[in-house]
Amino acid sequence: MEYQGYLQQESKQRKTVHILVFFSTFFFYFYMGMLAHEKGFWGAEEVYLGEKALLAVRGEPARFENIGLTYPPFPFMLRFLPASLGLHPYAGVFFSSISGALTILVLISSLKRSRISTLIITPVIIVNPLFIYTFSSGGSAGLFLLLLSLFTFYFKRFIESKGEDSFAFFISSLILGFSFLIRYEAVFFLIPLIFTLIKDKNRWRVVSKLLIFTFPSLFLSTGWTYINWLYKGDPFHFIHTFGLISFETTLKEQKSLFYSLALAIILFPSYLVSLYHVARQQNLLILFLSPLAVALTSTLLLDNMVSTSYFCLLGSVSLIFESNLGSNASRYLLVLAMIAGALIGYTLSDRTTWGEERDFIKTLIGTQKEERFKEEKELANYLKSLQGKIFFDDTYDYAVVFFHGDPKSFVLPYQMEFGFYLKAPFFIARYVVVPHPKYRNMINENNPLIFPEKDPNWELVEKIGKWKIFAARYRKD
């Protein structure tokens, strides 16, 4: 009875610690995100997701397919409710911070000596600059990291149970499948991890494991191709149009993957500490190394380099494997490595290959001079003062609609009318906004005379940044 009481008390204490960690982490990341917004930082993906969610729930007509069906749907879907309530400017940071708080919970749950480790490790993880960026910048990276951390946690449990823990297998397969709806590169995890499943004397058991492991990824990706076929007539529309809006720097433009990877390892030396202890167990080693294999595969196949924030997974994985460290000395070494990583992170913040990460950290520490999307915000504010429909191509200038907040004021490419009136927008809109011809834009391409002010149907009313705003000369509605 006494022992039972002790266990109950300990479980209660652990619950309290977890609740405290959850809320303090959430508020910390949320505060950092809002602070960055206040200082002028907006993540490109955050804005893109927010704009498409606005089109989906407040567009004309409001339809699911307004999200474009190019990028995985779940991050858009999360934004639907806030967008319909007019809370879209806060939604990105809110969901990132929730993901952050949950990820930290997953990590501290996997620590062997939870009470001491929780107190030491939690703040060390939270303040790592890459974690702050991932969980405060409003993109989908935080959610992706949460699911991959959860997946690693459960799949490790399955491997360690020698295939007995059906719950862990069930949930990890499901989580991995679901991750595909957040980032396509999740499917690449299947490739290395299949090797952990095939080494088995029972042939039917191997077949069973492979089917269960791959089925959620297969049915969710097949479902996505079906939706693409249904709405776009092309089941592989998402592959053909992927990378149209590039949130991440391509290999051609930037330094190599290996530079990014090296930087990530410098930021997470804890990964090397855990690697040393996992190296002797083959299946665990494959799981441990899979984030690197996925980074390499997706870079080579998609020609799209994963951002340094993706390598936060290295930090996560090294903590999830903390229970495999042989001695207390190794655990202290891990903590020291985490602390060193966080400190290095701040000193190397301007070395990351991805500009947005750099800007985010610089904004927070106050060295960033340029405000992101400044011109878009100015244009959006100006457009709010206009009466009448605005003909606008938001393919690359999605931020204008996001900061404007009312998609009904625009005629945009997701609407059928946009295509009909592209050559003569004055039939449907009172205003047209065109950027400088050096920027890709459908309106310019179809009406090359508007921007040079040689089209008699349009009268220039304002110039903001790269854009010119014209009013229809013969339309007075």
């Binding site: 719950f167 499901l174 089917l211 269960i212 959620p216």
Partner: protein, 407 residues
């Protein structure tokens, strides 16, 4: 979604320690135990039945086995007598009257029961030998309002053909994942047809089985919940014979679905009273399980046909009756709902290590077609012949025949 939550909960449950302690109970502490076995035209199975009961690990002096024969079924009675079973077997003849159903026979047997606990087995059942001891151990470690513990059911002829494979997948999923999930959620558990162990006094207090209900077990589970009693699951398996012939399968499933319809209709006569008695959570569980099961099977063919017509013709005629939100929900169900059920069937066999059955889960949609045929059959029968009991013949499995020849 509901099934997914239940499956996750069910997958989390582990073998309970309290049942593992069953063997520590001394024989002198064991109470009398009644086993009711209703049989009808099952002369072929009788030797197998006697053998299965003999294998039960329980002091024979404390066993009270009652085989219930129908008055017009002389053949089975004679077959049983010829075997000259031991004294703890008792033959009871149920007088001929209507409705001629299994629950009516069980009610007849109940009045002669002398055990503190009572259980029901079908003639072809092969319970694990320590099941009665485990049941007692579970009762002792359960809350005082526990009226019944339900053992898991599975099949011994699982690899015989498509039907038996799919049946095994279905039962493994139902008893190994769904029922433990329901138990954890505190939602009434629809009892399985056999291997449910009761506290005899409480069963009498509830009023025994409804002789007019063709799934008397499901009805009994709800009635117990209405009186504030709970049902728990028992980590012991009874192996049965899965019906391997299509016609028999349809008949059996028709009866089960008809019984669910009856149970739903009976308890929903006063829905507010039902909510008051079992609580909102259980009420929702009742709607989804007892009401939802036949409803889904009935509606499925209509939706499949609509979908196939649309897929082949791309017609826009249906658009007015499918506003976007209906379309999105349907799409979600089509893609996620169906696939999730197939996935859950895949995982179902994992716990029993029946790995060879996993690929068969991919054929689940074809099995669902059979369910819908049975559901429509049940709907028609509910109107035309509501209390008719579709008897499922047993002892026709190839495995059973082979074993019989060997012995």
């Amino acid at each position: 979604m509901f099934k997914l939550v239940l499956s996750l909960l069910g997958a989390k449950t582990r073998k309970r320690e309290k049942e593992a302690g069953a063997h520590q109970i001394r024989d002198s502490e064991l109470p009398d135990y009644t086993i009711l076995i209703p049989v009808y035209k099952e002369a072929r199975v009788i030797p197998h039945l006697i053998e299965s009961i003999r294998r039960i690990d329980y002091p024979k002096s404390k066993l009270d086995v009652k085989i219930l024969f129908e008055e017009d079924d002389i053949e089975t009675l004679v077959a049983a007598k010829e075997l000259k079973p031991e004294g703890f077997f008792e033959f009871i003849v149920v007088p001929h009257s209507f409705p001629k159903t299994k629950p009516k026979a069980c009610n007849w047997g109940l009045q002669f029961a002398r055990g503190k606990y009572i259980t029901i087995y079908d003639a072809e059942d092969r319970p694990e030998p320590d099941q009665l001891k485990k049941a007692i151990s579970t009762f002792r470690n359960s809350p005082p309002n526990t009226v019944c513990v339900q053992a898991r059911l599975n099949y011994y002829n699982k690899y015989e053909n498509f039907l038996t494979r799919m049946f095994t997948l279905e039962y493994s999923y139902w008893f190994d994942y769904i029922l433990p999930g329901l138990e954890l959620l505190g939602v009434p558990i629809p009892l399985g047809g056999t291997s449910n162990h009761f506290v005899t006094e409480r069963l009498k207090e509830i009023g025994g089985w409804d002789p007019f209900n063709v799934t008397e077990d499901a009805d009994l589970g709800v009635r117990a919940a209405r009186l504030g009693y709970t049902v728990r699951t028992l980590d012991s398996t009874t192996y049965e014979e899965a019906t391997s012939r299509l016609k028999n399968w349809i008949n059996q499933r028709t009866r089960w679905i008809k019984g669910y319809m009856q149970t739903y209709a009976v308890h929903m006569r006063n829905p507010f009273r039902l909510i008051r008695e079992i609580g909102l959570k259980s009420f929702i569980g009742f709607q989804l399980f007892i009401g939802g099961t036949p409803f889904v099977f009935l509606v499925n063919p209509v939706l499949w046909i609509l979908y196939i017509v649309w897929l082949l013709t791309q017609t826009r005629v249906l658009e007015p009756i499918f506003p976007p939100w209906v379309l999105y929900f349907s799409l979600l169900n089509l893609l996620i709902g169906n696939s999730m059920i197939v996935f859950m069937n895949m995982i179902a066999v994992w716990r029993r290590k029946l790995y060879r059955l996993t690929p068969w889960a991919l054929l689940s949609p074809f099995y669902w077609i059979l369910h819908s045929i049975a559901a429509w059959n049940a709907q028609i029968q509910l109107v035309s012949n509501p209390f008719y009991w579709e008897k499922t013949p047993h002892g026709i499995s190839r495995i059973f025949t082979a074993r019989k020849q060997t012995t």
